[in-house]
């Protein structure tokens, strides 16, 4: 348009005029800033410096502020610098930026040993808080269940069925596919290594015990934590962000009863079903590989399986499922309700829901292993 903006220096007697010319707008801000920084060094070199803005073709907040900044820094060393030639329509803009005070620098947070120790301390306290939060939620869910048992009409059946569809029915294909593949892999690896001792048939023992006791339920629980735990946290978290949970509370509803209980119940029902389907798929996959790759025909496989495993193995696996579901659900709901106002916080809590969910599932599995070993199952 009018070319680039400039700041001309014109000597006038023993004074100096700084002539701003051209468009002083945001587009040219980097250039303008450099010119102003240069001109600021003139402070105190002349007794009388003024800024002439009569030739400015266009002015916006950036330009007006930079002129104001120049005026201030020139004024510092004795004698007030003045702005001359300000046209009518820009004077209100200059008045506006004149109200701006110099900003205090942003304090950078100190990085030191104390800060590090402080961080560690906070994390430890945070872990304590997590445990208390989980116990608190467990209590709240049990209290809500008690309430529902006393007044069955307040139970939200539709919501529970809806969540059951989401976490159970829709999860079946992926759960079955993955456990099937894992069954295949276990069987293949078993045959590959056992063949050296001529003990091919023992792969059935390994597969049966491993799948029914451990892998079936553990794998499915981890998948559910990733799939449904994260969804619960995100749902509750975004409801929290939009004050929907506060709205429920003010209408006299208990968010635990309305939101958490149906989700928990759906999960507790879903996980045993999925674990059962997963175990069957894994056995089927393992059997298939044993037949095609190891030459163990289906009849021999079933015969061996009947000898190798007892109903105890199956019960051990199934008993764990609802407990793990409860742990995943509680962790997910606690995290969801802890979300603060920002999108970032939602992301953090969803991540930590999945991480903590999987962690607690594995810890629970260990506790169960000790328990069942000591009662001889």
């Amino acid at each position: 348009m009018n070319g680039d903006p400039t700041l001309k220096r014109i000597a006038q007697g023993n004074g100096l005029a700084l002539c701003a010319v051209g468009p002083w707008t945001a587009r040219f801000a980097p250039v303008l800033e450099r010119m102003v920084a240069d001109a600021e060094k003139l402070r105190g070199t002349r007794p009388d410096i003024f800024i002439d803005v009569s030739q400015v073709s266009k002015l916006d907040t950036f330009g007006a502020w930079l002129i104001e900044r120049l005026r201030r820094s020139l004024s510092h060393g004795g004698g007030e610098a003045i702005i001359a030639g300000l046209s009518e329509n820009y004077s209100s803009l200059v008045d506006e930026v004149r109200q701006v005070k110099e900003t205090p620098e942003v304090e950078a947070s100190p990085v030191s040993l104390t800060a590090m120790l402080d961080q560690i301390g906070r994390t430890v306290v945070g872990i304590g808080g997590t445990v208390i939060g989980l116990v608190d939620m467990l209590g709240a869910v049990l209290a809500a269940s008690g309430h529902v048992l006393v007044r069955p009409r307040s139970f939200r059946l539709t919501s529970t069925i809806h969540h059951l569809e989401q976490v159970c029915w829709r999860a079946v294909p992926i759960v079955v596919l993955i456990t099937f593949l894992i069954g295949c892999i276990i069987s293949q690896q078993g045959i590959f290594h056992f063949r050296r001792f001529g003990a091919d048939i023992f792969v059935v023992d390994m597969l049966g015990v491993l799948v029914l006791r451990e892998i079936g339920v553990l794998l499915v629980a981890i998948m559910v934590a990733g799939r449904s735990g994260s969804a619960y946290t995100a749902e509750l978290g975004s409801m929290k962000m939009r004050e929907e949970i506060d709205a429920l509370r003010t209408m006299g509803f208990d968010p635990i009863e309305v939101l958490v209980l149906p989700r928990m119940l759906a999960l507790v029902l879903a996980l045993p079903i999925l674990a059962f389907l997963g175990a069957m798929a894994a056995l089927y996959g393992g059997g298939l590989v044993a037949w095609l790759y190891g030459g163990v025909d289906p009849e021999a496989f079933l015969l061996r399986l009947r000898d190798a495993i007892s109903i105890d193995h199956f019960i051990v696996g199934m008993v764990k499922a609802p407990v793990m579901a409860a742990v995943i659900g509680i962790v997910a709901c606690v995290e969801g309700l802890a979300v603060q106002g920002s999108a970032e916080s939602l992301g953090q809590h969803t991540t930590s829901s999945v991480v903590k969910g999987i962690f607690f599932v594995i810890v629970m599995d260990g506790v169960f292993a000790i328990f069942f070993a000591s009662i001889g199952m």
Partner: protein, 257 residues
């Protein structure tokens, strides 16, 4: 100064049709917004005021028609031309649409930082200048959007919309959800900014006070078309049934006093 009637339209909308499924929201609509004016845009709820705004900004696809902003046909513009146009307008969304994981400071500095390579010092100073302009104290700079009141969110959002000193701002119901005093201050603020920065303002509103105090011209949307444009006096004189109800209803009489 000679004002040429053709070139002084900063937004020219011609023959625009927008359709969602089978419902036609905007039907061959024409609208001009003149440089330097504050255009108030009213109409019944659900008439498509926000849809028109979003269509002009390019967030809603149109079936047919032509939109020129700053004399540039947005459909024919290359992506770099489009970006240049986007730099010259600011948008205030109905809910503010502040980035929730950034502080007020970072929200306002975000567009500036992306488009201009200036020092952190200038960024901070401009941020404070914008906060002062929209009537906030510099102390709020380090708060997060979730820690602000509704009115403050609107002001910060306006400051962000103004961050790059645009020539044109779109305001989508800027005073909704504000108390009458806050809304009045906001109208005053828009007026002041329009005077000091030479802004053109496209304001969707339901607030009669805003129409009376802030707007130079009013456009009314109904049945997917502009049913009337003109000054507030023209609106009051209009015989259109919806306009009569709107400008002569109980609430309108209360405003006129």
């Amino acid at each position: 100064m000679v004002v040429q009637p053709v070139s002084d339209a900063i937004i020219r909308v011609r023959d625009i049709t927008v359709q969602f499924g089978k419902t036609r929201v905007l039907d061959r609509l024409d609208l001009d917004v003149k440089r330097g004016e504050i255009l108030g845009f009213v109409g019944p709820s659900g008439a498509g005021k926000s849809v028109l705004t979003r269509t002009i900004i390019g967030l809603v696809p149109k079936v047919s028609g032509r939109i020129e902003v700053f004399g540039i046909d947005l459909d024919a513009a290359s992506s770099s031309e489009r970006r240049r146009v986007e730099r010259r307008w600011g948008v205030l969304f109905q809910q503010g649409a502040l980035f929730s994981s950034l502080t007020v400071r970072q929200n306002i500095q975000f567009p500036v930082r992306e488009y201009l390579s200036v020092s952190q010092r200038l960024l901070d100073e401009i941020m404070v200048a914008k906060l002062v302009m929209v009537g906030l104290k510099p102390e709020v700079a380090d708060r997060y959007p979730s820690e602000l009141s509704g009115g403050m969110i609107k002001r910060v959002a306006l400051a962000r919309a103004l961050a790059l000193d645009p020539e044109l701002v779109f305001l989508d119901e800027p005073t909704s959800g504000l108390d009458p005093i806050g809304a009045g201050e906001f109208d005053e603020l828009v007026r002041t900014l329009q005077r000091t920065l030479g802004l053109t303002v496209f304001m969707v509103t339901h607030d009669l006070d805003s129409l009376y105090t802030a707007c130079d011209r009013i456009a009314v949307l109904g049945n997917g078309k502009i049913i009337a444009t003109g000054s507030i006096a023209d609106m009051q004189a209009s015989q259109h049934p919806w306009l009569r109800q709107y400008f002569h209803g109980k609430r309108a009489r209360a405003v006129i006093g």
